[in-house]
């Protein structure tokens, strides 16, 4: 194993807030970059206020709902409402390769942190701006939450039961995914800088990143003028059936089963011990099974109902059928696959309490990702302002006193 991580030596100033911005910083941090989230008690990030809290104590540094998504970022507290705070932030940017932010368009400019200002202190800076709909265009000032951002991508219009209304995803899928895309964007710009020596402004529209997910449905519209609707758990291109989740023994227990080719269908029929209905003409080809999918799903549901979902998935796998248990949150820590991959881990927060977060969600063969918990607000203040920026102790204390470092 290498002790060096791929992004070692890279420094990132992360003005990102909420869920999306911190995930972008986290990803670069796991890969070896030194990442500082810039935040302040002058306006505490809403994600620090969300329950549940570690040991039940309400505190900005104890939001368990927030911690997994923010782990990997460091934290410095700079009050950007003060011009001295903005100047201090520019001083930090001068020492950074990458700047991340997900405010609305124009906010960084108002804070004296726009791209042209940053170039003055760091000519090859990479600024990754990640607003909802990008920095330009008629929708650039659209107001959304991560949860509703997907409504302007068409994605929400595909989610729901067949013949029913769109059903909302009850949390912001676009937030962590947008954060990943933000990290990818930073890496693209870094590769360009490595080759040309030039930094740049990256105009990342969350809408455009998520729109890629509806690409296949878009092509049906582009070719045939057909506008996709909610499809339940069916195959998005109607390639095969069965394709859905089926009830199993227990409360809200399900198994997912997807059959895309003949060999898999024969495997499923064999697993069901070749019931007579399975030889009916309406199920005799993939096309016919897709056409009669509701009847087919009802028949299969009658069969799955009697089984434990884990056991049934294992049985179907021995017959070459793609099947897996449908997990609930309560299964995430005990599922053998996620356990074997150490998806989740217990860590000690800098303030001393134990908490469970996710670790390296991608595995790498030669480098060991650096997983750090937290951050506590301002946990890197001393290091950044004293060592990195070279402020004297007197200066530093004055900035704290003046609530510039705050």
């Amino acid at each position: 194993m290498s002790k060096a991580l791929p992004l070692q030596g890279l420094r990132v100033a992360n003005f990102g807030w909420g869920w999306l911005g911190p995930v972008a910083g986290q990803t670069l941090g796991f890969l070896g970059a030194e990442v500082y989230k810039i935040e302040s008690h002058a306006r505490v990030d809403i994600n620090r206020t969300l329950p549940p809290f570690a040991e039940g104590k309400r505190d900005f540094d104890r939001s368990l709902q927030n911690h997994a998504g923010w782990a990997g970022n460091g934290s410095v507290t700079i009050n950007l409402k003060k011009t001295a705070g903005q100047a201090l932030a520019r001083e930090l940017v001068a020492k950074c390769d990458v700047v991340l932010e997900n405010f609305g368009p124009g906010v960084m400019d108002k804070l004296g942190l726009g791209y042209s200002e940053l170039c003055k202190v760091r000519p090859d800076v990479i600024l990754v701006s990640m607003p909802a709909a990008g920095l330009t265009g008629p929708l650039r000032h659209v107001r959304t939450y991560g949860m509703s951002l997907s409504s302007i991508t068409g994605l929400d219009s595909l989610t729901g039961y067949v013949d029913g209304p769109p059903i909302p995803m009850e949390n912001a899928y676009a937030d962590p995914l947008g954060g990943i895309i933000g990290a990818f964007a930073a890496l693209l710009a870094l590769r360009f800088r490595k080759r040309t020596g030039k930094g740049q402004l990256v105009d990342l529209s969350q809408q455009e990143g998520i729109l890629q997910m509806v690409g296949p449905a878009w092509m049906d519209y582009a070719f045939n003028g057909r506008v996709a609707k909610p499809i339940g758990n069916r195959h998005p291109l109607s390639v095969g059936a069965p394709h859905g989740v089926f009830p199993c023994v227990g409360d809200d227990r399900w198994i997912s089963i997807a059959v895309l080719c003949e060999a898999e269908w024969h495997g499923l029929v064999a697993a069901m011990k070749s019931p007579a209905w399975a030889t009916a003409v309406e199920f005799s080809s993939s096309q016919k099974r897709v056409a009669n999918i509701e009847a087919l799903h009802q028949k299969i549901a009658e069969w799955t109902r009697g089984f434990d979902n884990q056991e049934l998935a294992a049985l179907l796998q021995t017959h070459g059928v793609a099947a897996a248990p449908v997990l609930a949150v309560a299964d995430l820590l005990s599922n053998p696959q996620l356990q074997a991959r150490n998806t989740f881990m217990e860590v000690t927060h800098p303030l001393g309490f134990r908490e469970t977060i996710y670790g390296a969600y991608v595995k790498t063969s030669r480098t060991e990702p650096r997983i750090t918990p937290g951050p506590a607000m301002g946990c890197d203040n001393e290091h950044v302002f004293r060592s990195l920026l070279g402020r004297s102790e007197v200066d530093y204390q004055q900035l704290v006193h003046d609530e510039v470092i705050f």
Partner: protein, 438 residues
Amino acid sequence: MDGALTGIRVIELGEGISAAFAAKLFADYDAEVIKVELPRSPCASDPTETHDAGNVAQPADVSRLGDVTRSWGPFPGDVPDPEKSGAFFFLNTNKRGLALDFTCDKGRELLLRLIAEADVLIENFSPRQMREWKLDWATLEKINPKLVMISITPFGQTGPYADWKGYDLNAFHLSATGTRYCGVPDQAPLEHGTFSAEFFGAYCAVTWGLAAVIGRDLVAQDDAENEKSGGGQHIDVSCAETVAALFVGAQNIGGYAQDGKSGTRTGVGMPLAAPATIIPCQDGYVWMMALETGQWHGLVRAMGNPDWAQLDLFDDMFERAQNSDMIYAFLYEWAAAHTKQEIMDLCQANGCPTTAVFTVAEAGEHPHLRERNYLREIAHAALGTVRTFGAPVHLTACPGGATAPAPLFGEHNAEILGVRLGLSVAEQSTLRSVGVIA
């Protein structure tokens, strides 16, 4: 060309969505991507696999050519044609196509020569399949120590499910997303209606994979245990794991581990606040959202200050949720009289973050995207002019995006085999006659 990834060589062995999309993201930014397709699709399954249940597995559909998405459509006029699949087109722009049977010795040798010169290999076959083809990481890192091999599978390279068969749906529902966040209680948990886990996993894969390429020299210098290290490595992505960790795990696992409590789906966007969900309107749906007091007042203004909304009690989003039956009844009534665009415009102008639920057509055709040059028109030999999406991220110094169509089956065989690998026309003709190349 001045692309972000100019000069990076990528080989793709992709079937279906995840690997093809990941390689497309490299191709969007001017990496040189060669997509290698088998003459016959193995249907993302092992055609040699025997089934022990008395039924003889039928051979894969012989009409299938190359990547399985060539048979998935959507097709113009719904007429199947392996050169006219929309999914294949969308996922494979800017790539070059090589049709090669790498499951035989001669074909494998040619593939290995390409891999020896590549920076990145992207694949999404099962680990067992890759071992059987002798294309596993242990084999390939000896051939090219600088290689970054990106494997994207439903469950990952390790663990008890590593050799399980799975598709996007299986991976998605292993993440607990459906039971926690999507669907009506007592009815089936739902996926998004697209290949949600595979897109998510692919985005993670390119991010970690590109970082590995950028940091290769650094890692090589520091790899004390292995003097021959070229800094390459194997990037192992489980689509299920990425969603389970980053989405569901992020906001649930800390609380669950401490308190043993977790929520479950309700069918309502935000059950504890109101209004915050999708509701019907005159011509479709809107994502009705007003949380902070200022947003609520904005919504009230947008509705023309109706009497029912004047209660001070309603200034609090949790109080509104306590009275959600009444609130939503009035909102349904108002929304039914207006179009989604009217509601979005009125709300946004008044500081309320409500948005229209765009169809895929409305989203893609929106003038906003046209102004941002997100929609691209690309000429294709079989399809004519195709309108597809641009790159997911706009880099102002090197924008990226689709400029060339998806390759026809084996379209670049002569160029890759002749120019890159130096095979003579006669040698290529021999290979073609024995079915190694198309």
